[in-house]
């Protein structure tokens, strides 16, 4: 019997906003899918595009980058830089025909536990509909 597909979504969450938002979702006992694998980073701009590429090529079905809302960055402007970086990365993915939809950048503040739960669910649903990451079973990488 074929096992049902449970996506794995590597999530880089900013310590000040999204990670706290995820915490809030947990302490408020909100349900969200177990597909999210959180990695706490000090700022979303700490996410080197290579981290995302590495996750993608290592078989992660989706990559979520969570940061503070524009204007709310703990370090003033980190998330604006993140936005540009992810824009470049998405353009690179797009040019060489990789699936940009597997990479998602979301702004979730520390008070938005429910938004975190909702985005997790939504993104998981989307990845489920897209199916497995095509790089997962490749021998030659």
């Amino acid at each position: 019997m074929k096992e049902p597909f449970h996506p794995k979504i590597v999530s880089f969450l900013c310590k000040w906003c999204t990670y706290s938002g995820a915490d809030l979702a947990g302490t408020s006992r909100m349900q969200y899918p177990p597909s999210i694998l959180p990695i706490r980073v000090m700022c979303s701009s700490r996410v080197n595009p290579v981290f995302v590429i590495k996750s993608y090529l290592s078989g992660s079905d989706g990559v979520l980058i969570g940061g503070c809302h524009p204007g709310d960055c703990h370090y003033q402007s980190g998330n604006y830089h993140t936005r540009r970086r992810i824009a470049i990365l998405k353009k690179v993915f797009d040019s060489i025909g990789l699936e940009t939809e597997r990479v998602r950048l979301s702004w979730i503040s520390a008070s938005e536990g429910s938004k975190f739960a909702r985005i997790s669910e939504e993104f998981t649903g989307k990845i489920e509909s897209m199916g497995e990451n095509p790089t997962k079973k490749k021998v030659f990488l």
Partner: protein
């Protein structure tokens, strides 16, 4: 404000453009307009070119501002020259436009100091792939010079990136320019486009009555042809790399030597993630990966290296094609990278190295821009947040 002055050098058809340009450069050295000139020079063995910082004017006879190959990017030479600051010497660097652009990009990245450097660009017919040249240097030299004297620009034996290069002539970022595509073959136009460039033309007894229109028209018509070819080639490249399988196929031969990175003028980081300790995995982890996939090929992470490099340097890529030249297994690295670079630079309406005053897109941001990168979702009340 940019001030442009143009003068011209007379060229006899027999001796070609090289001699009068070198004579002009020589006069700049002897009259102490510059203390030294950085220029490509044939190596004594006669089978390659190297960058030489020339102090002795007589050495300039062996120099060649239009070398048929580009074994080392000029920006790299300039980087080693000014790594520890600008110095007191007034130096002219005679370069191809892509080398000028790479220098400007590196200056923006604080790797080159351009304060004491006068960037002199030449109209560039392109260069031959080094592998082709090395097969028979003497013959290639002849072939290249014949192409030059017959004004056969846009020749198919040049590097593939050269064939579709649109920025092969004067740039807003260069101080001084040698215009060769005059059509008449009897003159080289000298254009100074900055205060530093003005110093070069000051007190030179040259023909001042130049009309630039012939040259400009020549450049423009080549540019239009290239533009068409570029669109066509990019489409081909796109269909080649399309999708993950396309990526696997295109870089299938990669041996993970990272030569493309070492040859790249833009990849300057002394501590690159690729090759660092952080990128190494322990054997248990590798074994697990192999188990999941049924097997795992070595060297590890070759695709990650290429895609990673695209995301790191494509905004500053000048499409010089040195990466393809450096590839020992003939992967068309430059074709893929220049295509991706074209796409990413377009996102920010940026052209690498074209203008000095344009800051690097990665260094700045606007409060509201690039819509659609973040996924804006409606919350329960239907308000976008």
């Amino acid at each position: 404000m940019k001030t442009t002055t143009a003068k011209s050098l007379r060229v006899s058809k027999k001796e070609g453009v090289r001699k009068p340009i070198l004579a002009f450069l020589k006069s700049l050295l002897t009259d102490a307009v510059f203390d030294a000139i950085l220029i490509p020079m044939q190596v004594p063995a006669g089978d390659s070119y190297a960058w030489v910082l020339v102090k002795d004017p007589s050495l300039l006879d062996q120099a060649n501002p239009l070398a048929p190959i580009m074994p080392v990017q000029g920006a790299k030479a300039l980087k080693s020259l000014t790594r520890k600051g600008e110095g007191n010497l007034k130096i002219a660097a005679v370069m191809r436009p892509c080398e000028v652009r790479a220098s400007v990009e590196l200056a923006k990245l604080n790797q080159i100091h351009l304060e004491s450097i006068t960037l002199m660009s030449v109209d560039c017919p392109g260069v031959l792939p080094v592998a082709d040249y090395f097969e028979n240097p003497g013959e290639s030299e002849k072939r290249f010079n014949a192409m030059l004297s017959e004004n056969r620009w846009g020749n198919g034996s040049m590097k593939s990136v050269c064939q579709i290069c649109e920025q092969f002539s004067i740039l807003p970022s260069s101080d001084f320019h040698f215009g060769l595509m005059t059509g008449s073959e009897s003159s080289v136009v000298l254009i100074s486009s900055s205060p530093k460039g003005q110093r070069v033309l000051k007190d030179r007894s040259l023909d001042g009555s130049v009309s630039l229109s012939d040259w400009e028209n020549g450049i423009e018509s080549i540019r239009q042809e290239r533009k068409k070819e570029r669109t066509k080639r990019f489409r081909e490249v796109q269909s080649m790399v399309e999708g993950f399988d396309g990526l696997l196929k295109t870089f299938a031969r990669c041996i993970g030597c990272h030569n493309c990175q070492s040859a790249c003028p833009i990849c300057y980081c002394r501590h690159c993630y690729f090759g660092s300790e952080a990128s190494k995995l322990d054997s248990d982890f590798i074994l697990k990966k192999a188990e999941q996939r049924g097997g795992l090929s070595f060297p590890l992470d070759r695709r990650m290296f290429h895609v990673g490099r695209m995301s790191h340097m494509s905004l500053s890529c000048v499409a010089c094609g040195l990466c393809s030249d450096a590839c020992p297994v003939s992967i068309p690295v430059a074709d893929v990278f220049s295509f991706v670079a074209d796409q990413t630079q377009r996102t920010f309406d940026y052209k690498a190295g074209e203008k000095r005053e344009e800051p690097l897109p990665i260094r700045q941001y606007r409060l509201e821009e690039i819509k659609g990168v973040e996924e804006w979702v409606k919350d329960a009340e239907g308000v976008e947040s």
